[in-house]
Amino acid sequence: MIRIDCPFCGLRDHSEFTYEGDATVQYPALDAPMEDWYEAVFLRENPRGPHREFWRHVGGCGSFLEVVRDTVTHEITEVKLAHPGMAAATGKAAAKTTEKATGGSE
C-alpha cells in the first residue's frame, strides 16, 4: 500500500486515491491533426524508475495530484497539485518530498 502526501489533506492511504495516468502526456489542441491525437491517446512509455503521473484524491479533496513515483520501488519523491493555480494557492507548488520515501536505512 503506497501512501501519498496530498497537499490539501496530508499523508493518506493508497485506497483514497485513483490512478489517473501518465502526467507527461501533452494533449494537443482539439483541432490538432489526427497523428497528434493518436500519439497522445494511444502511445505510452513504460518506464522503469521514476514516473510522473496523475493521482486523484477521490476519497479526499478530489484534487488531481502530480506525483513522481518510482515504478520499481513505489518510492514517491514529489507530490503537487496538478492545477497550477491551486498549486500556487496552497504554496506547495515546489517539489514536495515525503519523509517516508527519503528516510533511508542505515
Binding site: D13, P33, G62, V72, A101, S105
Partner: protein, 1002 residues
C-alpha cells in the same frame, strides 16, 4: 508412547490443568501449553498424515514452520483446517482432530498411496494426466477429482463463518517485530527516546528465544529479570505490546500487515468481540527482530514421528516441561546443537550427539561431557527406523559432503535434527530485497534494505547469540532514531553478522545402498529424489523447481525445505547455492483467514446500498426493486397476480393512455458553474452548447477522447453562468471524473467549477397525454401551457405540496418515453413530499407510478438508446445519432472519431427488430445472422428487447452490419447459441412508435 511431562520446569502453570479432546478422547494439559506440547506430554505420536503418501507424521517443530502436526480444530461451522498444533494455544475444552486420513490418523486407508510412491514423483500429475491420458479436458477433470481426494490437506467448513472480524487502521513511529532479545532491546530503546513504539509478537508468550534459554543471562541479568525490565521500560513510555499478533506482511511505505488473534484463546468470549483483528499499521520505521528458523537434514525416512528439529526438542523441555522422548539422538552439523543437546541431557534424558566431524573443538566436547551427552564423532544419521514412530536410527560414518557408509543401528525414540539456522528474512523479502548467501552462516542473510524504512536485528540479521542480539537491537533502534531525526546521542554500532559457531555444509545424507526416501519438504511430500528428477527434466531454476515439485508451496511456504532444496539443486547442476538462486517470499508469512481480510465488509456491508429519497414511498406501494450498481431502483409495482412482464406492460400502456410517474433520482447530476461554463460544455459535448439560451435544456452526447460514445444526458441552462447536467445512472462517477480531469489538468485556464449534486437532488418524470393536466396547477410560478412551456424548456418554481406549504423545484420539459413529459427535481429531503403530492394528482388522472422495466419498454418503442447501446464500442453514427454531432466545432473525440475503422461503411448500426412469426420472442444478446450464414459473429447483435403493449409483440433494438440501408424490411436470424434458439426477425426502423414525435411535442 514416548513423550511425557517432566516433573518440573517449563513456563506453564501446573496449577491450571486443562481438559481437551484429541480425536475423540479426553486429554489434559496445562495453562501455557500449546496443543503440540500437550499432545507430546500425553505420549501422542501420530498427529497427521502426509499430503501425498499419507505417511504418519508427528510434531516436527515448536513453531510456525511445523509440517507434521497439522490438525483440524473444532466442529461444525467453526472447523479450522490445517492448524499447526505448535501454534495453537491450549484452552479448556479445545477440540482437535487428525486430518487427511480415514478413518483416523493412526489407521489410514489412504496410506496405500505410499506403496505407489514411484508413481507420485515430481510432475507425475502433469505428465500422466495432462499428457498421455488427459488429452481431453474432461479426462483431466475426471482424474483431477480423484487425485485431489487422495492427496490433500484439511477441509474447511462449508457453512458460513459464524464469527466476525474487524480491520483496524493504526499508526506508530517504530514497529518492532519479534519479542526476543533483539526485539525487546530495540523496543525499549526506541520508547525511551520518546517514540511511539509497537512491539509485535506472534506467540501468546513474549520472549522469543529467551523462552527456551532460561539459564542464560543477558546484559548481566537473569533472562526473566532482563525481559521484565525491558517490558517495564517500554510500557512506562506508553509503548504498546501486541502478542498473539502476526506481522504477516511488509508493504510499501512502512505499512505492516498484522493479524491479531483476539478470542481463540478464550473459552467463552463475549459475542461482541471479533475473533480476529486485521491491523493495518503505518509505521515510520520497522525493526525486524524476527529470529531464525532451524532447518533439518535430509536422510532416510526423516519424516517418521519422533524426528524433530533439534532446538524444538529443547524448547519442549525448557518452555513446556515436556520430554519429547526418553532416548534422544541429536543428529547435527552445527555447533549450536551442543548447547541444545546439553540442555536436554540436563533434564535427565539420555542424549547421544552425532557430529560429522572426526575432530571436535575441545570446548564443545567438554560441554557434551559435562552434561552427560554421549558424543559420536564422525557420524551422520542414515535412516530412521520405526514405521509408526522412531524406534532406532541407522548411523553411518561420514565420508565427507554428506556421503556416508551405514554402520549400525542405535536405539532411540527421538531424533533431534539440526542442519543449521536460516534467518527469518521473509518480511524483508516482501519488500523485494533479495537475501544474500553467507558462506560463514551457510544461510541467506537479509540483503541491504536500501531506501526501505526497515532495519534488521538479532538472529534475523545473523547475530544469533543472546548478548549480541540485545546489543544489535539497541543499535538498530538508534539507527531508526537517527532516521527519524531523533539522533544526536552517542549511538552504538550494530554488531557484525557472526554465526554462533561452525556449521558443516551437510544438507542430505546419502549412502550407496539402500535407496533412501529422504524428505526435503515433508509437508508437501517432496523428496531429495524429486529435486534431482526435476533437474534431470530441465527444471533447474528455483522458481521452476517449486512449481514442478511443489517444494515450498504448502502452508509453511518453504520454511523447512527451501534451503535444502536449493542446495540439492546446486549440487545436481554443479553450481553454488547463490548461483542457483535466492528464495522469494511473499506475504503472508503465515496463513491468515479470509474472514480477517474481509473484516466487516461482508454481506450488505460489502458496499454501500444507495436508495433514492423516495425509496420508502416505493416500498409502501409494494414496488419491487432491481440492483443497478449500488442503487436500488424501483422496478415495477405488481398488482395481485402480476409478474414482472404483466405489471410492466400494464404500467407502460397506462403511460401511453393517460399518465405515469417514475423515480429518476439515480441519474447523475452535476452543477457546472462559472463564466466559462458554456465554453467548457461546448468542448465536452459533441453537439453545440455555446448558444443554448437560459431557460432551455439540450440533449447532449459526450464522446471519449478516442471518439467512441461515452455518455448522454440533458443539460439545463439555469443562468448565463450556471448549468445543471444529468448523466446516465451508471456514468455519474466516470463523467464527474472526466470533467474534473479536463478542468484540473487539460484546461486549468477555464473558469469553471463543477460539483456532484447527484445526492442533493431527487427527481421524477411525469409522462403521458395527461401529464400537463397533472402538473398544471401543481406549482407556483410555472405556467405549463404549451406556448409558455415549450418542449426542452426549463423553469424553476415552487411545488405546492399536499397538506400545505411549498418546496423548491426545477422542471424541464423532456421526454424519454416519447410522451408529453416533464422531469421535476427537488432537493432530496423534499422528495417524499414531492412524490406524495404528484402521485395523488397522477392517480386522480387515472395514472400510475411506473418502474424501470416500463421505462425501458417505452424507450425501446421510441428507439432511444441506453447503456445497452452506448456500450463503449459504438460511435454516434452507429447509434443513429451522428446527425447531432457538430461539424462546425472541435470537441473531445472529434478528431479520433474519424479514424478509418470507426468510419467504415460496414460497421453494425442501430436497427429495430420485429419477429416474423407472431408470438416468437428473441433474446437480448442474440447474434444476428443472415439466413443460411449462421457463422462466427454474424452481422451484429440484439442489444435490447421489450414486450411492447403498443406493438403487441416483443420488439428489439440491435446493431447490424450495413444497417437499415442494406437490410430494411429483410428477414434475418436472431441466434442464441446458449440455448440453441433461433428466431426469424424482420429489420425495421428503430422508431417503432410515433416516429415523427408528435406526441411529445404536441
Amino acid at each position: 508412547m514416548s513423550g511425557f511431562r517432566l516433573s518440573r520446569g517449563g513456563r506453564i502453570d501446573r496449577a491450571k490443568r486443562l481438559a481437551f479432546e484429541w480425536d475423540g478422547s479426553q486429554h489434559y494439559g496445562y495453562q501455557g501449553d500449546t496443543l503440540a506440547s500437550a499432545l507430546l506430554a500425553n505420549g501422542e505420536r501420530i498427529l497427521g498424515r502426509s499430503f501425498k503418501y499419507h505417511r504418519p507424521r508427528g510434531v516436527m517443530s515448536a513453531g510456525v514452520e511445523e509440517s507434521g502436526a497439522l490438525v483440524h480444530l473444532w466442529r461444525g461451522a467453526r472447523r479450522i483446517p490445517n492448524a499447526k498444533a505448535t501454534q495453537v494455544e491450549l484452552i479448556q475444552g479445545l477440540e482437535a482432530f487428525g486430518q487427511n486420513a480415514w478413518p483416523n490418523v493412526r489407521i489410514d486407508v489412504g496410506a496405500v498411496n505410499s506403496l505407489m510412491g514411484r508413481f507420485f514423483g515430481a510432475g507425475f500429475y502433469y505428465k500422466t494426466f495432462m499428457g498421455v491420458l488427459g488429452r481431453q479436458t474432461w479426462e483431466w477433470m475426471f482424474f483431477e477429482k480423484i487425485i485431489r481426494r487422495a492427496a490433500g490437506m484439511g477441509s474447511a467448513s462449508k457453512e458460513p463463518d459464524p464469527d466476525h472480524y474487524e480491520i483496524v487502521n493504526d499508526h506508530c513511529d517504530v514497529a518492532v517485530i519479534g519479542s526476543g532479545p533483539a526485539g525487546l532491546a530495540a523496543a525499549e530503546t526506541a520508547a525511551q527516546a520518546g517514540l511511539d513504539v509497537v512491539l509485535i509478537e506472534q506467540d501468546f508468550a513474549l520472549g522469543g528465544s529467551l523462552l527456551s534459554n532460561v539459564a542464560d543471562t543477558v546484559e548481566g541479568d537473569t533472562v526473566e529479570d532482563w525481559q521484565a525490565g525491558r517490558l517495564a521500560g517500554l510500557s512506562s513510555k506508553g509503548g504498546r505490546v501486541w502478542n498473539r499478533t502476526t506481522a504477516f506482511g511488509l508493504y510499501d511505505h512502512g505499512v505492516v500487515g498484522c493479524l491479531e488473534r483476539v478470542t481463540d484463546h478464550m473459552v467463552d468470549p463475549h459475542h461482541a468481540i471479533p475473533r480476529e483483528r486485521m491491523r493495518i499499521l503505518r509505521a515510520r520505521r520497522v525493526i525486524m527482530a524476527t529470529g531464525a528458523l532451524e532447518r533439518p537434514i535430509a536422510f532416510g525416512d526423516n519424516d517418521r514421528p519422533g524426528v524433530m528439529l533439534g532446538h524444538a526438542v529443547r524448547t519442549y523441555a525448557e518452555r513446556f516441561g515436556v520430554a519429547a522422548g526418553r532416548r534422544i539422538v541429536y543428529a547435527a552439523c552445527n555447533d549450536e546443537a551442543y548447547d541444545d543437546a546439553a540442555s536436554v541431557a540436563e533434564k535427565g534424558l539420555e542424549v547421544t550427539l552425532l557430529d560429522p566431524r572426526e575432530v571436535v573443538p575441545d570446548h564443545l566436547a567438554a560441554m557434551a561431557d559435562e552434561a552427560g551427552v554421549r558424543l559420536l564423532k564422525g557420524y551422520v544419521p542414515v535412516e530412521a527406523h520405526g514405521r509408526r514412530g522412531v524406534t532406532g536410527l541407522m548411523i553411518g560414518r561420514h565420508l565427507g559432503g554428506g556421503k556416508a557408509r551405514s554402520e549400525r543401528e542405535i536405539g532411540c525414540d527421538t531424533i533431534a535434527v539440526s542442519g543449521g539456522w536460516n534467518p527469518a528474512v521473509h518480511l524483508l523479502s516482501h519488500r523485494g530485497v533479495r537475501p544474500v548467501w553467507s558462506d560463514r552462516h551457510l544461510a541467506f542473510l537479509p540483503g541491504d534494505a536500501g531506501r526501505e524504512p526497515i532495519h534488521v536485528a538479532g538472529s534475523a540479521a545473523g547475530v544469533p547469540d543472546t548478548e549480541g542480539a540485545a546489543l544489535s537491537g539497541r543499535a538498530v533502534a538508534e539507527a531508526a532514531l537517527r532516521a527519524l531525526g531523533k539522533g544526536g546521542a552517542k549511538s552504538r554500532k550494530a554488531p557484525a553478522a557472526c554465526p554462533a559457531g561452525e556449521t558443516q555444509p551437510i544438507y542430505e545424507v546419502r549412502v550407496k545402498a539402500p535407496k533412501l526416501k529422504s524428505f526435503v519438504d515433508p509437508q508437501n511430500d517432496v523428496t531429495a529424489d524429486d529435486v534431482r528428477l526435476a533437474e534431470r527434466e530441465g527444471y533447474v531454476s528455483v522458481e521452476h523447481l517449486k512449481r514442478y515439485t511443489t517444494l515450498g508451496m504448502s502452508t509453511d511456504q518453504g520454511k523447512i525445505g527451501n534451503v535444502i532444496g536449493m542446495a540439492l539443486m546446486a549440487e545436481a547442476t554443479g553450481k553454488t547455492i547463490p548461483e542457483t538462486g535466492t528464495t522469494t517470499f511473499r506475504p503472508p508469512y503465515t496463513p491468515i483467514s479470509m474472514g480477517a481480510v474481509a473484516g466487516t465488509e461482508r454481506g450488505t456491508h460489502w458496499r454501500p446500498t444507495r436508495r433514492t429519497p423516495m425509496h420508502a414511498a416505493h416500498e409502501k406501494l409494494g414496488g419491487k426493486f432491481v440492483d443497478a450498481g449500488a442503487w436500488k431502483r424501483s422496478w415495477y409495482y405488481p398488482k395481485t397476480g402480476e409478474n414482472l412482464t404483466t405489471a410492466s406492460m400494464r404500467e407502460a400502456r397506462i403511460v401511453r393512455d393517460t399518465v405515469g410517474m417514475v423515480d429518476v433520482s439515480t441519474l447523475g447530476k452535476i452543477q457546472v458553474q462559472g463564466p466559462d461554463a458554456a465554453e467548457f460544455l461546448n468542448r465536452v459535448y459533441s453537439n453545440a452548447f455555446a448558444k443554448l439560451p437560459v431557460g432551455k435544456a439540450r440533449y447532449g452526447l459526450m464522446l471519449r477522447v478516442d471518439g467512441v460514445v461515452f455518455d448522454d444526458g440533458t443539460t439545463w441552462r439555469l443562468s448565463e453562468t450556471e448549468f445543471f447536467m444529468t448523466t446516465t445512472t451508471a456514468n455519474a462517477g466516470p463523467v464527474m471524473l472526466h470533467l474534473a480531469n479536463l478542468l484540473q489538468t487539460w484546461w486549468p485556464d477555464l473558469r469553471v467549477h463543477i460539483s456532484s449534486v447527484s445526492d442533493h437532488w431527487g427527481g421524477v418524470a411525469v409522462a403521458g397525454p395527461k401529464a400537463r393536466d397533472v402538473l398544471m396547477d401543481a406549482f407556483e410560478g410555472i405556467d405549463f401551457a404549451d406556448q409558455a412551456f415549450p418542449f426542452m424548456g426549463v423553469r424553476e418554481g415552487m411545488l405546492k405540496v399536499a397538506g400545505g406549504g411549498t418546496v423548491p423545484a426545477r422542471v424541464a420539459r423532456l421526454s424519454f418515453s416519447g410522451e408529453r413529459a416533464w422531469e421535476v427535481f427537488c432537493p432530496a429531503d423534499y422528495c417524499p413530499a414531492m412524490w406524495e403530492t404528484l402521485l395523488r394528482k397522477v392517480q386522480a388522472a387515472g395514472g400510475v407510478p411506473y418502474g424501470l422495466e416500463a421505462l425501458d419498454i417505452l424507450r425501446v418503442e421510441k428507439g432511444h438508446v441506453t447503456a445497452r447501446e452506448l456500450d463503449g464500442r459504438t460511435t454516434a453514427t452507429d447509434c443513429a445519432l451522428g446527425g447531432m454531432e457538430s461539424k462546425k466545432k472541435s470537441y473531445i473525440g472529434s478528431v479520433l472519431k474519424e479514424r478509418e475503422h470507426l468510419t467504415r461503411r460496414d460497421r453494425p448500426t442501430l436497427v429495430g427488430l420485429r419477429p416474423v412469426t407472431e408470438g416468437e420472442q428473441m433474446k437480448a444478446g442474440s447474434i444476428l445472422c443472415a439466413q443460411g450464414e449462421v457463422v462466427g459473429d454474424g452481422l451484429g447483435w440484439v442489444s435490447s428487447i421489450a414486450d411492447s403493449p403498443v406493438m403487441g409483440e416483443r420488439i428489439g433494438l440491435g446493431f447490424v452490419r450495413g444497417g437499415l440501408t442494406q437490410w430494411d424490411g429483410k428477414t434475418i436470424l436472431a441466434e442464441s447459441p446458449v440455448d440453441g434458439k433461433s428466431v426469424e426477425v424482420k429489420v425495421v426502423s428503430p422508431h417503432f412508435f410515433d416516429p415523427d414525435g408528435g406526441r411529445m411535442h404536441g
